[in-house]
């Protein structure tokens, strides 16, 4: 009889820290209970994990800490469904299950030596944060980094406590924007695609990575095309309803591509080859 690793069996983990990011987003920092597992744990920027609340179920989140900082694994959770709502009630010291890493990752090797444009909207900043921290920690491998991050209101921006650290990195331009004027807001006001056009980063030797709500991605893509970016130099990371996370349960496919295994990271060049079913 084959003895193999059970891909459905979560590792037990403990919540070490909880950060209230916005009114409906919390960030959880967790460590695997088994010290050896935690020590040996490795992942790539952009990979996801399934978090379990036993009795409620599993849900998929990107590991938004960086592989260069392995004190904990970080997941940002927006309260929406059954699992996410229950996660929001959990406390430091509570145990959850983790199945990770799953899926593919940002081709950060291919991006070396290039200028980087990161365009994030709302909770869509989570996967981009991973990549950003990785690049900050390997700063010399990459050219100029432009980060355009927007949310509806200043209170909806996640990771605001880190903005100073991001800005302190060499040759990094962080552009923040919100939809409407707000008291005390000193940054941009306007929709992300418009701010992107205003900033007008050069497409030469540049890779753009974007994540956010579908409507934002749609118009960001149009803006990037207007700026002259080629499809193969634009990446995004997709969200789909997932259950197994290992390409078997059959619900997250776009044609032959299973978002949980072949994704969640796609170049627009790749997406164009798939059936139109996002």
């Amino acid at each position: 009889m084959t003895k193999m690793k059970n891909p459905y069996l979560p590792e037990m983990a403990t919540i070490q820290e909880i950060i209230q990011e916005t009114h409906n987003i919390k960030t959880f920092r967790v460590t695997l209970n088994n010290e050896q597992s935690m020590k040996n744990f490795s992942f790539e920027p952009g990979q996801v994990g399934q978090l379990s609340v036993f009795g409620v179920g599993e849900s998929t989140f990107v590991i938004n800490s960086s592989p260069t900082r392995m004190d904990y694994l970080q997941f940002s959770v927006m309260a929406a469904g059954e699992v996410t709502q229950r996660l929001h009630t959990m406390q430091v010291g509570d145990e959850i299950g983790v199945r990770a890493p799953l899926g593919n990752w940002f081709p950060y090797e291919k991006m070396k030596g290039k200028d980087i444009v990161i365009v994030g909207g709302g909770i869509g900043m989570a996967p981009l944060r991973t990549l950003l921290l990785y690049m900050i920690d390997n700063r010399d491998d990459y050219g100029k980094i432009t980060v355009i991050y927007g949310a509806r209101t200043p209170q909806d921006l996640t990771y605001s406590y880190e903005f100073e650290e991001w800005r302190a990195a060499k040759d990094l331009n962080l552009v923040l924007t919100v939809d409407n004027e707000a008291p005390g807001w000193e940054h941009k006001v306007g929709l992300i695609p418009n701010v992107l056009l205003e900033e007008s980063p050069s497409p030469d030797n540049t890779v753009a990575i974007t994540c956010g709500p579908p409507i934002m991605i749609k118009f960001t893509l149009e803006a990037l095309k207007k700026l002259g970016f080629e499809d193969e130099n634009i990446y995004t990371t997709l969200e789909k309803r997932m259950k197994c996370g290992i390409g078997l349960c059959g619900r997250c496919n776009i044609g032959t591509s299973y978002v949980c295994v072949d994704g969640p990271v796609y170049s627009f060049a790749k997406l164009k080859t798939l059936p139109n079913e996002l």
Partner: protein, 355 residues
């Protein structure tokens, strides 16, 4: 060397095999024929296609993946810990009376669950301990179309042993090494040439009785081209009532759900059959659904069988032509018609080029 089993000895043979294996066979239950553990109280029914195939033997309608229990942390009674246990179960099992189409369904399962990056250990554990003894078809039904999708009334894919009904009994042939192990039974005698010739003749007649098979090599390309033609899919799916009969009775459909069920402090994480014809299957927490109507969902079902799966598995169509989705469909939606219509649908581009 082919063997022969007398019809009268079939019961004894199965009983003998029952000492080594859990024997699962098609039996009468109410007005249906379903695969159940063969017992003295149950009536074996192999004279017609079972209402439901044997898929559930290797891929149960519901199974526990892990069990969990909330307990007080002995070191800190204020704290609760979760004990989690995996529950992989398998025992030597013999599936008797699968039709070649049913057995071929396991080929598709093998592709989907074992020839992939991450393997399904629950299915694999059962598959390894299972032996499939199939029954060749000497009659074909109006809904049979195994020959359209690469099968045959005497196909051996997925089977370990193949029985062919002949006068007075069955011709018994081993297909795999696993099946060879069954050939030594004292109730089996060597089959003479006449019996082998009879089997050959009956099977040829069965093959001839099937409708001529269309060429489906073009299907992946055709279905990709039809992907955005929602008018086509809306018409094809108009009569579908979005139930799961087709998928649950399908020998190849393998989509599933994972849910937690808890009673008190204990519970199970279970895997249960799910189906792509259901709205909830792809509905996201945000309310967005990439397959919002039955037209999108039928497109996915047909697309998966005749396009995506073949693209991923060396052209192997994920349909075995058993016809259950047609005959058990509450509205008799005929997948043959849908696929044929897709094949024959003139694409807008072609029309333009003709102009």
């Amino acid at each position: 060397m082919a063997k022969y089993l007398k019809k009268d000895d079939l019961g004894s043979w199965l009983k003998e095999l029952g000492e080594t294996y859990k024997v699962i066979a098609p039996v009468e239950e109410g007005d249906a024929v379903v695969f159940r553990r063969l017992t003295d109280e149950r009536t074996l029914r192999i004279d017609r296609q079972a209402t439901q195939g044997p898929k559930g033997v290797l891929f149960p309608a519901c199974e526990e993946l892990v069990s969990f229990k909330y307990v007080k942390d002995p070191e800190n009674p204020e704290k609760t810990k979760v004990e989690v246990k995996e529950t992989v179960e398998a025992e030597p099992t013999l599936i008797f009376g699968a039709r070649p189409c049913d057995a071929r369904g396991f080929d598709v399962f093998d592709g989907a669950f074992t020839k992939c990056a991450v393997k399904d250990n629950y299915y694999m554990a059962r598959r390894e301990q299972a032996i499939v003894v199939s029954l060749a078809c000497t009659k074909t039904e109006t809904t049979c179309f195994c020959n359209w999708v690469g099968g045959s009334p005497d196909g051996t894919g997925g089977s370990d042993v193949l029985l062919t009904p002949v006068t007075g009994g069955y011709l018994v042939e081993a297909v795999t090494d696993k099946g060879e192990a069954l050939m030594g039974g004292k109730l089996l005698s060597d089959a003479d040439d006449a019996r082998q010739a009879e089997a050959k003749k009956l099977l040829q007649e069965a093959k001839d009785s099937l409708r001529e098979a269309p060429d489906f090599d073009c299907m992946p390309e055709q279905l990709y081209a039809l992907f955005d033609n929602m008018d086509f899919w809306e018409k094809q799916s108009a009569k579908c009532i979005s139930c799961g009969a087709c998928t649950y009775l399908c020998p190849t459909c393998h989509c599933f759900n994972i849910t937690d069920e808890q009673q008190g402090k204990e519970g199970s994480r279970i895997r249960s059959w799910d189906n792509c014809m259901s709205h909830m299957f792809t509905n996201e927490a945000s309310g967005h659904n990439p397959r919002p109507t039955k037209a999108y969902r039928l497109k996915n079902r047909v697309g998966h069988k005749f396009c995506y799966f073949p693209d991923m598995h060396d052209g192997h169509i994920a349909c075995v032509g058993c016809g259950r989705c047609i005959k058990s469909c509450p509205v008799a939606l005929d997948i043959r018609e849908v696929v044929t219509a897709a094949k024959e649908c003139r694409l807008p581009e072609e029309e333009t080029s003709d102009d």
